[in-house]
């Protein structure tokens, strides 16, 4: 403790400090998370270790409690905002240090829909898990998805929608990919509050991801399959 009664993060050992980052992420304390990231880096931690052990693990706990109905959207948003602040510090360092890459994802909210909270969270968690993420933003027509796939050659296409009225547009994108003979070149993951597994199956997506943590796990497992196929060939 410091003289004014506040916890001095510098006084904590590494293990305690990482635990504290998890707690501060959970409580949405952005400045504290930023400070802890700087301290860990100062102690010689690699940016990748800080990212995975402190930030990503902290957000995983937040995700579990959100799924279990212990945390609600506002708290998750505050936590995500804190993680974003930590990521902001780490991103250039990760690039400079050549952290391991899992794969590449193009992600965007579909045409007619401007909701991006979930999509942004998925993007951030995917980045945290080592994916390169190209975020197309909101209200994306099929042409924009196609152009991005052409330009960036991702492994995964992620589509998000929050509205019952806009989620059918995902099928438009997938059908267009089929018409162009490019559907099987990509893993297509879909997500958003009104979606479910049946819907994902019906529109021809590879998987429905109910939250950011599931998106990361699903993406990783598809990348592992792809890697195994390439090794076998």
């Amino acid at each position: 403790m410091s003289d004014d009664g506040e916890l001095d993060l510098n006084s904590l050992n590494d293990e305690e400090l990482v635990q504290q980052v998890h707690d501060d992420l959970y409580d949405g304390l952005k400045e504290e998370v930023e400070a802890a990231v700087h301290i860990l880096l100062g102690r010689g931690w690699t940016p990748y270790k800080v990212l995975t052990e402190a930030l990503v693990e902290g957000m995983r706990i937040v995700g579990v409690d959100f799924r279990d109905g212990i945390l609600f959207v506002p708290e998750v948003l505050l936590a995500a905002n804190s993680m974003k602040a930590g990521m902001f510090i780490l991103r250039p360092l990760l690039i400079a240090t050549g952290a391991p890459r899992q794969g590449k994802m193009v992600i965007g909210t579909v045409k007619g829909d401007i909701h991006d909270i979930g999509k942004n969270l998925v993007g951030m968690m995917m980045e945290g898990a080592g994916f390169e993420v190209i975020d197309l933003g909101i209200n994306n027509p099929v042409e924009k998805y196609l152009a991005a796939m052409e330009e960036h050659k991702p492994d995964i296409l992620g589509m998000a929608a929050l509205l019952t009225t806009t989620m059918p547009y995902m099928k438009v994108v997938i059908d267009t990919m089929k018409e162009k003979g490019m559907r099987d070149d990509y893993v297509v993951l879909v997500g958003g509050a009104p979606l479910n597994e049946d819907f994902a199956k019906a529109i021809g997506a590879d998987a429905y991801c109910r939250d950011a943590a599931v998106a990361v796990e699903t993406a990783k497992s598809y990348m592992a399959k792809k890697h195994n196929q390439l090794t076998a060939n």
Partner: protein, 211 residues
């Protein structure tokens, strides 16, 4: 069926617990439904509402609807559900298909108050519009401002509303107080304000067909 033993000048007050057709509705429509029943002197209806705050947690709607339907089915001639899809991703429709029950047409109350066709026509221009109905204007503070945690964390405002450009107030009644509230909500969110009077739209039409 309309009431015939009252003079047109007599007040008609809706009394729950009577009527052969159960209207199972979102609480956000309760006031409007009662108003329509009383204005039209419909005696066929009974009304039960589920919490309107489930607007923010749609996964609670279907299990509660199922329970209400199963509990009420034997006691009424028919049941009519007054919900849109309301963010359930088709789960309300799946349930109603299993139970053989109809609901109001359309994805949400914005569409059936505006009229499905009108709503579809303006959809592109309204893509950055956040809709308020009378109910949402009346309960903006509780349901939206506090419900989304912006009272405790105003810093969340740009995360929730950063992509919106306007509030579109779809008014069911010509009520100046509500219009002022909707305008104040727009100001608070830093958005432009647009007023559209819709009346009760297809809600009235669909109830009339079952009265």
């Amino acid at each position: 069926m309309t009431l015939v033993n009252l003079k047109p000048s007599d007040e008609f007050e809706f009394k729950p617990g009577q009527g052969k057709v159960l209207l199972l509705a979102c609480g956000a429509l309760g006031r409007e439904i009662v108003d329509l029943i009383e204005r039209n002197r419909w005696t066929a209806f009974d009304l039960q509402c589920l919490p309107a705050k489930w607007h923010n947690t749609p996964d609670k709607i279907v299990p509660a609807l199922r329970e209400k339907i199963r509990e009420a089915k034997s006691r009424y001639e028919s049941i009519f559900v007054l919900y849109g899809d309301c963010g359930t991703g088709g789960d309300i429709d799946k349930l109603l298909a299993e139970e053989g029950i109809e609901r109001l047409e359309g994805p949400h109350c914005y569409a059936f108050f505006s009229g499905q066709e009108t709503f579809a026509k303006t959809a592109e221009d309204d893509v950055t519009g956040f809709f308020l109905t009378d109910y949402l204007a009346r309960h903006f503070d509780k349901l939206i401002w506090e419900g989304l945690g912006m009272d405790r964390h105003p810093e969340l405002l740009p995360l929730y509303f950063g992509n919106y450009t306007k509030i579109v107030f779809l008014a069911q009644t010509r009520n100046e107080e509500l219009a002022k509230k909707a305008m104040a909500a727009a100001k608070r969110l830093g958005l432009a304000y647009e007023y559209r009077y819709t009346g009760y739209g297809e809600l009235e039409r669909d109830l009339k067909a079952r009265a």
